[in-house]
C-alpha cells in the first residue's frame, strides 16, 4: 500500500500468451486481483511482473483501454455523464459476441466490478428478445429437448414468442 501514493508508477503484467503489458498504476489498481497482489506483497520490487495466467493479450488490451478511459472520467468528474455512455457505446459497438465473452471472462478473473456490470448488461441487451436458437448459439448450448417436449412447452408460453427480433 505504501507505494500507492508514488507518482507515475508503472505496473508490469504478463498474460497467458506471454505478452508483457506496462500499465499506469491507477489503471492496474482497477483490477482487484492486481491490487490485492500488491497489498499482500507490500515490499514487492517496482519492476515485479504480475503473472495473469488466465488472461490472454487480446482481452487484456481491451480491458486496459476501458479502465484507462474510466479512470480518466472519474478524475475529470465526468463519471455517470453522457460522455461515459458515449464511450461505452462506442467501445462495444465493434465487439463480436465472442470478444464480449472473452472480455467478461477476463474481467471476472481480474475482478473489475464496474466493467463486469457493464459487460453483463451489454450481453443481456444482446440476448433480449432474441430467438431461443440465438441464445443457444450464443452460449454454445445443445438443444436436448425432444421435438415433442419442445412443442409442448412452446404452446404453454405462446406469449413469449410473439414478435421475436431477427437474429
Amino acid at each position: 500500500m505504501s507505494k500507492l501514493g508514488q507518482a507515475k508508477r508503472i505496473i508490469f503484467l504478463k498474460t497467458a500468451d506471454g505478452q508483457l503489458f506496462e500499465v499506469d498504476e491507477p489503471v492496474a489498481m482497477e483490477f482487484e486481483i492486481v491490487k490485492s497482489f500488491f497489498d499482500e506483497n507490500e515490499d514487492a520490487a517496482d519492476d515485479t511482473v504480475v503473472p495473469l495466467p488466465n488472461v490472454s493479450a487480446e482481452p487484456l488490451a481491451g480491458i486496459i483501454e476501458f479502465c484507462k478511459a474510466h479512470v480518466e472520467f472519474r478524475a475529470n468528474g465526468a463519471a455517470g455523464k453522457d460522455e461515459v455512455k458515449k464511450f461505452n457505446a462506442e467501445y462495444i459497438k465493434e465487439k463480436s459476441n465472442e470478444q464480449l465473452k472473452e472480455l467478461i471472462l477476463a474481467a471476472n478473473y481480474l475482478n473489475i466490478k464496474e466493467m463486469l456490470d457493464f459487460l453483463t448488461e451489454t450481453i443481456a441487451n444482446r440476448l433480449k428478445n432474441k430467438s431461443v436458437e440465438y441464445v443457444r448459439a450464443f452460449f454454445g448450448i445443445e438443444n436436448d429437448f425432444t421435438p415433442q417436449e419442445e412443442e409442448a412447452v412452446r404452446k404453454e408460453y405462446e406469449w413469449a414468442f410473439e414478435g421475436v427480433d431477427e437474429d
Binding site: 471476472n108 443481456a124 433480449k128 448450448i141 412447452v153
Partner: protein, 240 residues
Amino acid sequence: MDSVCEKQGKSHKLGKDGDAPKITIECLPREISFNILSSLSITSLAKIKFVCRAWCNLAKGPHLINMHFLRMTENDPCFILQQDYPVQDQNYFVDFSARNESYKALKKFCVPSMPKFDIVGSCNGLLCLRYSSSPASHSLCIYNPFTGDYLKLPEPTKVSHKEMVNVFGFGFHPTTKEYKVIAICFESENSLLYRDLYTDKELEAQVLTPGSSAWRRVGKLPYNFLGLWSSPILLNGRLH
C-alpha cells in the same frame, strides 16, 4: 510461476491456431450467467426454458427468479391488466423491462385452469384469483402467470350456518417473508346482494398463509365497510 505461465500460454495458443474454441456457458462462472439472465426481460426470461433441460430447471428454481425479481423491483415494474370488454377475462401484462426492445411490450396471457375469475390482488408478480362463478364465490387460487404454476387455496372458515360473503386481499408480509391472504367475512341473508354491507353487520377477519391448510380467525373488526365498489387494497400489511 513463470514456467506455469508459459505452459498455459502455449496451450492457449494451440487452441487459437486451430479452430478457435468457442466460449460456452460452461466456461462462464455461474454467477455471471445468473447476472446476465436476471437482467433479461420477463419475456426473454421465459424463453430460456426452451434452451435446454438444465436451463429449464434453472428457470424454475428460486435463485434466478429472486435475482430477477430484485432487479425488476428496482428498475422495471410490470402491470397486469384485465379486460372484460368486448371479450371477458382477457389478461395482459405490460413488460416495462422490455420497453427498449423493438416490439410491443403488451403481452396477452391466459389462465388455463380457470375460465372465469376476478383478480383479488397481485403481489410480486403473483396473482390471487377468485373463481367468479358467483359473486359470493369463496374459491381462491394463487397463480403465477409467468411460470403457469398455481396453488388452490382452502375456503375461509364458516362462522355460522348462514351464507358468508368475503372480501379478500392478497399481500406479502415483509417480516415473515410469507404471502398472506386476508378475508373479511360477514353473514348475509342473500349473498348476491351487497346491501347488507351498509347495515351494522359484524365483520370478522381471517388470515391464510398460502401453503397452510386452514384460515386463522383473527377476530372482529371495529369498522364497517364504506362500500364495495372499489376493490380492497392491501398496503403495508393492512387491508383497506
